[in-house]
């Protein structure tokens, strides 16, 4: 079994990687730091498993080299569990990618990272409801402080593939995120 860390650029995948493996790959506070992938090992219930830090991708339709690498990694590792790291303060966007990965039949665990940032912005996410809709484990995390990691690791083994039709069925007409404050921070770019 392998574990792939996937998510948008600049959501904290590399911080996850460092925490889980004890490695020290480069982290910085701007998008696109990881262009190539990183490999490491972590202990999961007494077993060594391979962990791969995949470059950030907005979707599985590659537009640049980093995204091409991301899609390649996903396709080459059919037997892996995907930990989909989302920015909890921009959850809608992140879920688009999470659904794309689920749709391809991978077992997924969703990490709602930057939970502290979302709280600061007054964004409330109903985790249990989201979990019920998606049918995959959803764990709030704050990677820089390590909050939620124990739970996340314990849920990796629970991950199982979910049919997208089931999610559509259980999602009809529900809203899980409410926001009261102003959002901030630019984080995506397309040029053309």
């Amino acid at each position: 079994m392998k574990i792939l860390l996937m998510g948008h650029p600049n959501v904290g995948k590399s911080v996850f990687f460092n925490r889980l493996t004890g490695a020290k790959v480069m982290e910085s506070n701007y998008p696109g730091t990881t262009v190539d992938f990183m490999k490491g090992w972590m202990r999961l219930e007494g077993e060594d498993v391979e962990l791969i830090d995949v470059p950030g991708a907005f979707s599985l339709e590659p537009k640049d080299r980093a995204e091409e690498v991301a899609v390649e990694m996903l396709e080459k590792n059919r037997d892996s569990v995907v930990v989909c790291v989302l920015d909890a303060s921009k959850v809608e966007r992140g879920l688009y990618l999470a659904l794309e990965i689920i749709e391809r039949g991978y077992p997924v665990v969703v990490a709602l990272n930057m939970w502290d940032v979302a709280e600061d912005k007054n964004i409330k996410i109903e985790v249990e409801k989201l979990e019920r809709i998606l049918g995959v484990p959803v764990v709030p995390t704050t990677a820089i402080s390590g909050e939620g990691f124990k739970e996340l690791v314990s849920k990796i083994k629970e991950a199982a593939p979910v049919k997208i039709e089931k999610i559509i069925e259980s999602a009809s007409g529900v809203n899980v995120a409410t926001s009261a404050g102003e959002g901030g921070g630019e984080s995506a770019a397309v040029c053309g």
């Binding site: 948008h8 991708a57 907005f58 979707s59 339709e61 537009k63 303060s89 921009k90 809608e92 966007r93 688009y96 990618l97 912005k121 964004i123 926001s179 102003e182 959002g183 901030g184 921070g185 630019e186 984080s187 995506a188 770019a189 397309v190 040029c191 053309g192």
Partner: protein
């Protein structure tokens, strides 16, 4: 009234009406999809990129991309 996203004024809000087929998948991952509310957050001079706000998060788009998106304002 319909206009191109690139023609929106600063701080103007609208609903995304149409996205050119070739572009649709490219911008979907950034939360830009038909039916979404969108606000012009920054406009740069001399054909520079624009910054839009969708769902409380900001996305910058090249002007060429913005020209292919139709917004109802």
């Amino acid at each position: 009234m319909e206009k191109k996203l690139s023609e929106m004024e600063f701080d103007e809000e609208g609903t995304i009406k149409e996205i050119e087929e070739t572009l649709r998948k490219q911008v979907a991952g950034m939360g830009i999809r038909e039916g979404k509310n969108i606000r012009m957050a920054t406009k740069q001079p001399i054909k520079g990129p624009i910054v839009v706000e969708v769902d409380k998060s900001f996305t910058s788009l090249g002007l060429g991309v913005a020209e292919k998106i139709v917004v109802e304002v």
